[in-house]
């Protein structure tokens, strides 16, 4: 479980996050949505410790991550898996080696064989074990996402952070990836936080949806509730497209 308490972040005079309070629960896919410039990315970076909040804090299973330093923070970071926008695989490493990278960085005590076995397990879980010796340039965008997911879960994380996991994917593949993330979240009982503005993802896998608007948490609820919220900002976002308006 991740608890966010009164989180504030400024860049000079610009208030990007204006005191956010929310809770991301274990075993659920938590989605952060909002328009461009709403503060989603800054919020995500504050969650993982890549940016330091100016006020408030982030608590991982009741431990105040924001106040932690050095080694203590590293222990929590080892429990985090990250899925970057555009997969961000290392071109020089093959699929298997990409998945092993966080294992090499964090698990000094694991033998090479154990790391390899773990990498194979993760690749098998995302159904891409056959491609273990291929290089990123030799696989499709969807496959890259799978490899990135396998790399994100390689360290058996308690918390999984995904930044725009569907970017650059066709709708069908995007749904497959969404479902894969949702499945592994429940299977490994992770606390998954996804930064997205893809409404399909919201509707497919959004157990808990947080809507940010101009740095404020404007609304939160489930994917079912989002369609009937009555919140103007949320409705403007959800029904932004002609298709959604017709569906409504």
């Amino acid at each position: 479980m991740i608890q966010v308490k009164e989180l504030k972040k400024n860049f000079g005079d610009l208030e990007v996050l204006k005191g956010i309070n929310t809770t991301f629960e274990r075993g659920k896919t938590n989605l952060i949505i909002g328009q461009s410039g709403s503060g989603k990315t800054v919020f995500m970076k504050c969650l993982v410790g890549l940016l330091e909040p100016d006020q408030g804090g982030v608590h991982y299973d009741n431990l105040n991550f924001t106040r932690m330093k050095g080694l203590e923070r590293n222990i929590i970071r080892q429990k985090m898996g990250m899925l970057f926008q555009g997969s961000a695989l290392f071109d020089s490493l093959n699929v298997e080696e990409n998945v092993m990278f966080p294992l090499e960085m964090f698990n000094k005590d694991m033998s090479r064989k154990e790391k390899l076995e773990r990498a194979h397990f993760c690749l098998d879980r995302v159904n891409i074990l056959d491609a273990n010796h291929l290089f990123p340039a030799e696989i499709s965008g969807g496959m890259k996402k799978r490899v990135a997911i396998a790399r994100a879960i390689a360290n058996s994380p308690d918390y999984l952070f995904c930044d725009e996991p569907n970017s650059g994917l066709d709708p069908t593949t995007a749904i497959v990836i969404d479902q894969l993330i949702s499945e592994i979240t429940k299977e490994f009982q992770m606390t998954t936080v996804i930064n997205t503005h893809d409404m399909n993802s919201v509707m497919e896998i959004g157990d808990h949806v947080v809507f940010l608007y101009k740095g404020n948490l404007c609304w939160e609820g489930s994917s079912e509730e989002i369609l009937t919220t009555g919140n103007k900002q949320v409705e403007d976002f959800v029904y932004a497209s002609e298709l959604m308006r017709k569906l409504k």
């Binding site: 890549l50 966080p102 960085m105």
Partner: protein, 416 residues
Amino acid sequence: MILFIKLFRESAMFAWTSIAANKLRTLLTLLGITIGIFAIISVFSVVDTLERQIRGSIASLGENVIYIQKWPWEFSADFAWWRYMNRPTPRISELDDVMRRTQVVEAAAFIASTSRTIEYLNRSMERIPVLSVSHDYDKVRNFEIERGRYFSPTESTAGRNVAILGYEVAQNLFQQTDPLGKNIKAFGRNIEVIGVFSKEGDDTFGNSHDESIVVPVTFISSFIDVNSDRYNPAILAKGKEYYSSEEVIDELRGAMRAIRRIKPTVDDNFALNQSSLLSKQFDGVFAVLKLAGWIIGGFSILVGGFGIANIMFVSVKERTSIIGIQKALGAKNYFILLQFLAEAVILSLLGGAIGLLMVFGVSWLATYAMDIDFMLTTKNILMGINISVIIGLVAGFIPAWTASRLNPVDAIRSNG
């Protein structure tokens, strides 16, 4: 340690991929290092080759052998030649006196040289050096006789018309025929060949016996005045074992001054030369040559170092987002530092290796074209490698340090 090796391997792999992806850029950058290493190592190889040849030649003059001559072995620009002009030359009559008046001299020999046309049947060789020696010449000079023998005491004292031929002289005059027992003609006399020297090869100071003949001085003194300055007479004195050359020189100086009755207040009118004098004079020449190599190569390497630093900054810029992702996935600062340092060292080593290959190629060509045995020694190869590694480390450190200190957020955000 194992972890370090694994990380280094990982870093090297990243580095190699980057290098392989930018071949032309890499090659151009490496040119400075290549030229620098080529300049330094080739100069060192030339110096080593010359040094080996010269030291070999000096050694052939005989260890602990003092040359009593008119002229000192001195090559400096301020050589006061006029001070030695009127000195008397060593005389054959002084040889016995030298032996009689010294305790630490094991053997001494008189030598004088001239040149003559040597004939055998219808073949002849012009201006062949004829070395006339007293009997103990074989005790003061290092040489081997391939066929035949050295002069007998009787031949030496009686002035018999016998000769030992240099290897090349024997080859040219006699070709397939065995020269032993045959008569060559010189000084208008028949001279019997009693031996042939082993091939000695080129000598820096022209001391090789290959293209000369050796005859007893007692024989030749019937035709020329061996004591004359024009025949470069010298007495060679070899010190006994366990006596230093300084002790031998001291005693020889005393003996020669006594023989020539030089008053205590008057300077020597002879020179006591030794091979170590030559070595010392060449040490200075070699040091200057090596310094020149360092200066020429150093500038090139400096340029190469800047090139590597430049390419490394570009590399860091290009891979900024990768650095960020690596850091976000747990890579520590030292891993990033090591990764870029490894790349810089590999680049530099590659440049150095090309330079060494060039030296190898040039020395191989020179060996065949100039008939000189050029050496690319292990010491020089290791030196080239070490220089490359050091340049790589120095040139790559600041870019690698910059990369390792990148903020992961900024790094991931970048488009690099």
